[in-house]
Symmetry: C2
Subunit: 192 residues, 2 copies
Amino acid sequence: MKKSLGALPAVFPMPVLMIGTYDENGKVDVMNAAWGMISDMDQITLFLGGDRKTVSNMHKTGAFTVALADHAHMKEADFFGIASGNKMEDKFERTGLTAVKSERVNAPVIEEFPLTMECEFVEEVNSETLHCYVGKIVNVLADEAVLDETGKVRPSKLNAILFDQFRNGYYTIGERVGKAWNAGAGLYKGEE
Amino acid sequence: MKKSLGALPAVFPMPVLMIGTYDENGKVDVMNAAWGMISDMDQITLFLGGDRKTVSNMHKTGAFTVALADHAHMKEADFFGIASGNKMEDKFERTGLTAVKSERVNAPVIEEFPLTMECEFVEEVNSETLHCYVGKIVNVLADEAVLDETGKVRPSKLNAILFDQFRNGYYTIGERVGKAWNAGAGLYKGEE
């Protein structure tokens, strides 16, 4: 039996993205955003509402970083979603996290997060229905500890958290249960 | 020590979205897409490349549905990502899944998936850098079994899977480890 719940933002899971920017004085801001996704092989699109410090920063610097929040830094990641860089002067400083300037774009890399996309801010899109910010991913930085012997990211080492917008929860990642473009191969070949 | 991996689609986790459409004859197609996200409280945006049956269908019908793939139907979900509706005549039929017409939009609801967004297709956006499809979520249908006593979706009941694009894996959801806009409240109040 299916129930109607009305119009809800019901994508699940969502990532916990840490958007890092500098203001015109080189001051670091980080915000927490779940509404962002890869939009091409080297592109990420962010759906950010309201009067964000992040947005004014990326317009000034032409850049941002996107890191994945991990379980060890859930407290800081959540705080970045509660506090506003427009209102709290020491927002980044009070987390005690460490920012270094990206070598490729004019945006900060937060050392403590395990993986960071370094992005050029390429376009603000305002169509009839859509409002979003597009970034070109120029490089991905990852802690050596999250890579396997071939240099690929191993999700089980990331300890990334995910966001549940139904009940505002953070979850860890569970077990690997299948291989994509393989789990359904039997159906494809007509064997099942 | 951080390593540079080059430009990669490094959002993690990604959802496993099942996009359901009808063609002009009422024939069901379902595709598997990871690159989709909520873009407003009642809006979802899909980043779909190539010559998709889904795209020609949504242009004809003005509608699509987006369901969340669950672990029990991982095989079918993955198959929808391998097979092309343009090339395989019996793509949907060979899964044995059941489609019923949405009461709200001209698109199919796949009975076996636990949660489905019923969407009007409102815009194809082609900006200088971005190419995407925007849907207005008019309603969410969920199996009673995944709701709690207040009628909210309980993620632990969904058994949704997530996609890992680093290594093309499917994962289950882990443990709830925190509450959003709460886990970082101590930092906000200056208690930590």
